[in-house]
Subunit: 482 residues, 2 copies
């Protein structure tokens, strides 16, 4: 067993070490705070010494980490200790760390650096990674960084930056190995042996014709399994999945998920190979999209996650949805206002009406969740949509009748009015059915209008079901109770 010590899971190891670093850093920050609090100008020599020791230990620790782990540590620190920790990251690791960091943290780190430092850091990266990195920087800084690159890198970075967000071109990897189909496997092997490493995630070589047009892909396995005198054309896959630079990332994600891909050629409009899309980038996209979506549903954006952004700016960022919420809630309030006389005559109505609204809200949100999921999977043709609508109406009619009766009985026992009981039972059923209908149709409509169906859907929907709930319940009450 002791022999095995060197191969123990370094990710477990890292988890522990990371906790220690975070601990060290927060202690450091605490000490710094204590020093500055004790007296602003007095430099405590002892505290400085302690800090320097910590820093040396920390710098060494950090150097052993995977860039993704360093990024993780940086992300969980407040701006001041974060800057301190960033100063301790070795310069040859900085580029990789920036790539792994979230947009907000990346921007904060880069904005604190001099343009020549940024260029030095960026120099260690591939041009597609540089493009990824600078794309999240402010316009001026972007230019400053790109201009300092050498000419080839500049051209490549500019070309990647020219692809719109959400397109395959914007996230592709420019680094790939191309071979010709009339070459023998032996010649390909000789070609490879001249290199010290292949581009990351190279599970296949791309087969091209004279004008760089895509002909197929050659799995690395074939080089190992087949006879060296065979030609590429004989053993390649002539019909690989591939993407155009202007294909949507969403479609690429679907293809990777379905066909279990590792990497795919990316071609331009003339079917010339210009890059590759690799599974690691796709995994990052899947993760980011899933996270962005859960925030979007409640009207938040990823920027809301930056725990150290100025409070007032974060507060203001929530205004659009808050205002929408206020306006819709106000509309609901006016609906109630229209029935003030009915309520004045029977105050019990005021107490009961939120039950109808609340159940409607949850019913509608369930329908929305099902439809958004179906839309994301591309499974909602007109046939399926009608089916979902029928089902949601059916389910909620059934549940509305069953639980409306229960609620009716409770109301009858409580308020001793059969009419009131009947009104609330009917209102509950009706509002559930209507909420289900709106819940199914609203996201579909949003998508047809070219909007994001998930965007703030829970806010819009709850507002609608609230107003409807009050209207139905109070309307029925006005008709049958007055």
């Amino acid at each position: 067993m002791s022999q095995d010590a060197d191969v123990r899971a370094h990710h477990r190891h890292l988890e522990q070490a990371r906790a220690q670093v975070i601990d060290l850093l927060s202690r450091q920050a605490l000490e710094r705070e204590l020093v500055s609090r004790s007296e602003n100008r007095r430099h405590d020599v002892v505290a400085q010494l302690v800090e320097r020791q910590h820093q040396a230990a920390l710098s060494q620790r950090l150097a052993q980490f995977h860039p993704a782990d360093i990024a993780f540590v940086l992300e969980s620190l407040a701006p001041e200790p974060r800057a301190a920790a960033w100063a301790l990251v070795r310069s040859d690791q900085r580029g990789a760390v920036l790539l792994e960091a979230s947009d907000t943290v990346r921007r904060a780190l880069v904005l604190g650096m001099a343009p020549e430092d940024i260029s030095a850091v960026v120099h260690t990266l591939d041009s597609d990674d540089i493009a990824d990195l600078v794309s999240s920087l402010p316009e001026e800084l972007r230019h400053a960084v790109v201009e300092r690159l050498d000419r080839t890198d500049q051209a490549e970075v500019r070309s990647v930056l020219s692809f719109p967000d959400g397109s395959v071109g914007a996230i592709m990897d420019l680094d790939f190995i191309a071979v010709r189909e009339d070459t023998t496997l032996e010649a390909v092997q000789r070609l490879l042996r001249r290199k010290t490493a292949l581009p990351v995630h190279t599970n296949e070589l791309i087969v091209v014709d004279r004008s760089n047009g895509l002909r197929g892909v050659l799995d690395l396995q074939r080089l190992l399994l087949d006879e060296p005198d065979r030609r590429v054309a004989e053993v390649m896959n002539p019909q690989p999945t591939y993407f155009y630079t202007d294909d949507g990332v969403r479609d690429a994600i679907t293809a990777f998920e379905k066909y279990d891909l590792i990497s795919c050629p990316v071609v331009n409009l003339h079917r010339q190979v210009v890059g590759r899309l690799t599974v690691d980038v796709v995994v990052d996209e899947i993760k980011e999209r899933a996270q962005a979506e859960s925030l979007r549903q409640v009207g938040l954006s990823e920027a809301d996650e930056d725990l150290f952004a100025p409070l007032a700016a974060s507060a203001r960022r929530r205004w659009p949805w808050l205002v929408l919420n206020l306006v819709t809630a106000f509309i609901a309030s006016r609906v109630i206002g229209a029935f003030e006389e009915v309520i004045a005559a029977l105050v019990a109505l005021a107490a009961l009406m939120p039950i109808v609204a609340s159940i409607g809200g949850n019913t509608g949100n369930q329908a929305v969740a099902l439809v958004i999921r179906g839309l994301a999977l591309g499974q909602l043709g007109p046939l399926q949509l009608r089916k979902i609508l029928q089902r949601e109406i059916g389910i909620n009619l059934l549940n509305g009748v069953v639980w409306g009766l229960v609620l009716g009985v409770v109301t009858w026992l409580l308020y001793d009015s059969v009419t009131l009981a009947a009104v609330i039972a009917a209102a509950l059923t009706l509002n559930m059915v209507l909420a289900a209908t709106v819940g199914v149709l609203a996201p579909v409509l949003l998508q047809r209008l070219g909007r994001d169906p998930a965007m703030g859907s829970s806010i819009v929907l709850t507002a609608t079901t609230d107003s409807m709930g009050f209207l139905i319940f109070l309307g029925l009450a006005a008709a049958f109770l007055s």
Copy 2:
């Protein structure tokens, strides 16, 4: 360009073809329906002929599809045409199709087959895939299928089935190539050349010692790039990321995302290699989890997606959350009930109270979304948690004051009462701060209690903020307005 015709993106091609198949099948279903409607016992010879022609065309089309595409088509069909389409799938493709299908559809398809047919289908699969497949079957059927396997497969399937859901062992791939570290690369190449194909997603060979203990991994690249007389030990990675069979899938997902992995060795408690975890399985897990989570938040499960499950069963499945919703809404109603006299004196209160409740609900849901996301990323230590809590309180205090004032002014203009305006402004601010606090703490508390923090969180939270909103607003009104 015409030369390139054979390499055009087959996924685009498939999209079109798939639409045609769905179209064909639904037309077929329609025709069948028309036939059975026109007269139940009369067999329309012409219609039958048309159908047979359709079937032959369809069967051919399906055979060209990727199993994932066939599964997709089957999933979007109603049970009857689905069974018809399933009958047209070639038997050698059926296993792969079942693997790609969702749990509910898979179960439906398998339940319609005779046990000997299932065994025949299953025979074409690897034992880990068999385990994956039978794990979603009812207990009796599972036994029946496993018993028909040959002895090695039986043992392997039983071993995979013994790992709990959500553990790496349950989703690992048993198929891998192991080599010894004192072998030369040339010998490894010879070993490989005896095989016709490597296990899927083999980007590295696993290096083991005599007792099958993990020693490292050998990237396939090294076989192509390094001199054939070098030994495995010299060029292998001696410190690969690896997993234990009882590691959580969630941890594995994090590691794959962070370290951009393609495949990793899986070891048992004695550090012996027992399998591999590959990125395609991880991608599927990420996707499933993201989807399951968005449904769970509104109290739905994946079973709710089966558009063709019996309606009554689906309706009943929603009862637990519906009842919880009813009970909490009823509590909110009783809160209002306690203030009936205050409302009777000033009916405007009934109209205004839902505004306070509604804004509280959305505020709380925003806090919940941020915390759940932080928890999922493992970024919420005690420090971060305090920070989030402080920020959410700060942001909502600020926004509460600003928009409370606006709402106050509108109320004053509408109802001409300064006191009422002050009451609603104060209630809005207070409820937003309280909702933010509950929103942050509730998911954390749920997780501490060992519960899933996402489970029905939006239902629980909205209920709480509703009650609080009514209590605060009506309480303040009772104190200052009567």
